[in-house]
Symmetry: D2
Subunit: 283 residues, 4 copies
């Protein structure tokens, strides 16, 4: 069922819901899902509607134009998207296959609703797996002495393929600030710790050293500051003294996969709203 998704953030005040629902009712819009959130601390209001496309008398662009005056009146940050227009998602990987394989399977089996124009990797290891799925594999090696060149190529590919979203599926490279800015809230990373614990390299080693009893993973938007962007989703798994670092790496892989795929799903369905480096997730 094709739907339009109307996603709104604005300063809270009386009458927003009435105004928006009147608008939708006036056009006979059939709302299949509605979510609201009033944030007391910030004084902001967040709203997401999913509306059956075939219930409206017009298409996406006309809907946008008709709604624009209301958005202006309430100083809304807003977007309308069309479930029939699948996002273009570039996956980026390194040598570890578990997150990439998991996303590819979900895509291949129809669970993950997007297009994947290509996979970019800084190693050759995962080429065959990607190509079996019928997706182009682009090897962009990263020279530690001159990372500029690689990221210029990545940026070129991102534009060439008109990517909406980048997913760092254990890519293990830090993207340049300019790319983070240009794709703000459109680059999704999976970090293999329960942030803000264990920022940076080798988080399972850090976790083992500290003797924690749960390890976790964090799916977040990438910002210029390492591992500090808005968190979309997190989860944990229990470990004990019996688990070596290798065991943690193994157990952690499953959490990483699950957390990344959930986070990406929320993103693709326009369920994530960012405000003040935090997220509202209408899951």
């Amino acid at each position: 069922m094709r739907t339009f998704r109307l996603v709104i953030a604005c300063p809270d005040r009386v009458g927003i819901v009435a105004r928006v629902s009147n608008f939708l009712t006036a056009y006979n819009g059939w709302i299949t899902e509605a979510n609201h959130h009033s944030d007391n601390q910030s004084g902001w209001f967040f709203m997401r509607h999913e509306i059956r496309a075939d219930s409206l008398p017009f298409g996406l662009e006309a809907l946008r134009q008709a709604f624009a005056p209301i958005a202006e009146e309430f100083s809304m940050i807003w977007r309308v998207t069309d479930s029939a227009r699948r996002q273009r998602v570039i996956l980026m990987a390194s040598r570890e296959s578990h997150c990439l394989s998991d996303l590819l399977h979900r895509w291949h089996s129809g669970e993950l609703d997007c297009e994947i124009p290509c996979v970019i990797a800084n190693h050759e290891d995962l080429r065959s797996m990607v190509e079996w799925h019928g997706i182009p594999y682009v090897h962009v090696p990263v020279d530690p002495a001159d990372k500029q060149k690689a990221f210029a190529e990545v940026t070129r590919l991102v534009h060439e393929h008109e990517a909406d979203t980048l997913v760092l599926a254990r890519y293990m490279q830090i993207l340049p600030p300019v790319l983070c800015q240009d794709f703000a809230h459109r680059i999704i990373n999976i970090h293999h710790s329960f942030l803000p614990s264990f920022v940076g390299a080798r988080p399972y080693h850090q976790a083992s050293l500290r003797g924690v009893k749960l390890i976790g993973a964090t799916c977040h938007y990438v910002t210029e500051e390492l591992d500090a962007g808005p968190i979309i989703e997190q989860d944990v798994v229990r470990v004990s003294h019996r688990d070596s670092i290798d065991d943690m790496v193994r157990l952690g892989r499953d959490v990483e996969k699950m957390v990344l795929s959930r986070g990406l799903r929320y993103h693709l369905e326009d369920r994530v709203l960012v405000h003040d480096n935090k997220t509202v997730v209408f899951a």
Copy 2:
């Protein structure tokens, strides 16, 4: 902050949200929380609004009268409640103290927002604990040969104290059908298994015999059919071969407490809507 809670269930159709939000906006109602659910299978729509009482120009009764025509128009099953009017909750217990103690502490510390006119128990064991909290303890022994008498007394107490809700905090007695009917969706039980597994007596023994790897607890509304009423909340805890039945009983106590207190909280805040022996819980 005092709020009114407008809770609605009705057959789904276009315009319900607009109608309700227009109504609230017309009176300048400040919505602090709004939840919607369209159930595709049943074709029903569920909605709950929490509105600041001081933003409306009238009180609860006037709100009810003003809203009644809309409710009729849309064939709504509905209620409006006032957060300032605390529900009167009778707790019923037997000999096990963990659920009762947990609820009493939450009540005493202000977490559980209700009045407790009395505790009814079929044994004397928990009197001192209850009375320390300043709550009357009524001992109504249940004669296995003639339970009628006890339940007549329970029913009398329920009416005398004008109870809104009964909570069976491990009461271990089966209430008579007529009381279940009279208090439909107002009697909350905690069953010490993950229903529908292990209905009836000694669920931890049943769980041990089957060799399950998780045990659970279920908070549900009581109906005439044993352990078959609408489920409000459930949770589980991991067990292993190392856990004897006694260990399961101990581990299960913590799940029971948590599940019952969460379920009761949802109920007291008017977050639970029952439809077709299932619940919508706007948690």
Copy 3:
């Protein structure tokens, strides 16, 4: 690191551990992991040792012979296995790919330590995926009017490939009793419910109908009685009124994958001991 695994079940009595550890110490055996369990209810004792193979002066067969008298003395049910001798595991599938794909990826990336001589499926759908992994795909269609023929062929393949273990990765067919008996505690199934709830067909439909707040999956050994064999592993995931049956199916897939892969891992590492239709899992 190559290890021998000595796995023992016997009636409990004083001196078992001393006898076994003396035996191992006498040969200078380096124990890397040891687990014990005394079951009070049944009066049985369970034990698993993992011993570095290079610390012993002899190989697997000699170890068996040397230990046999002790086993006899204590009436042990026992086995010794060699981590270097990878089990031969036949995966059986139908049309659903998620469990199969998950196991294949774990195998391909070296996480799952076994050989997979072939995949048997009653449909052609998953051939390409399996063959990409370099594993033969055998299509054995099941004629509803005459299942005998298909199961004769399955049995032939199992013997031809000298399979140690069969894994029903959402195979959706009920195996004949004789195969269940011949491969007792060697056929692993994943059932898509939290057993003993929702035995049999369409468990997510049953779960939706009952309105449970958690759905689960169960990995168990197959016995003649449907979904009633010894449980190896279980897990659950939270659902709500918002989740349609399709959502449950999607959420459940992740639980099924995790639970099956954990259960199979325990099995392959000889961590599972069956007694009285229950399991001791030295995880």
Copy 4:
């Protein structure tokens, strides 16, 4: 059933288990529970035996003397304790009642097996609750300008009551280094975050600011460095954008209670071994 608990840590080498189990077998010791752990990274070995007291021909002191030569031979750090000798535990609290109430109920209902000679609090608020349980309540106010005096009194009480263990049940004061040293691995704290995230004051505020999707609690031994001691137990609970800081505080209370009571239970049953600022917990 009375048991002796033999708890051992020593450098790993061949023959430890044989030596210990021979020793126990020689005296006909009936082992009800045995746990072993070889830590590859540190090269240390950890072991805990629970032995039926009535199966041994002697008492605790004789057992200690008989075992001492073995302990010396293997350079063991070790202890033997008697389940019949209940630890003396002083609970320390401030104004928050949830952890204290939870521990008191577990103690009162017989779940928590210890003696509580007194509760020390820096406020008067919880006196009545404690005294209802028949436990002396000692008010030791802490003067922010001169904390020395209060801690001198605390130290005096600890010695007067011959406390084995101190439990900081949300005590909210930092103990002086000398007390931390004198009671190394005998002071248990509950910190209301998932350490090492959110060390120090107001962790729920920190969590809200960072926008995490799970909040947690950590039970650990107190060392001189704030919130940096060996972790005994941790757990988490899911939160979302809907949860205000007050909601986090409420949800967190339940995690704190559970984590503290589990950690204390492990400690009282001599299941916790500390090595290198980490714990082995034979749960």
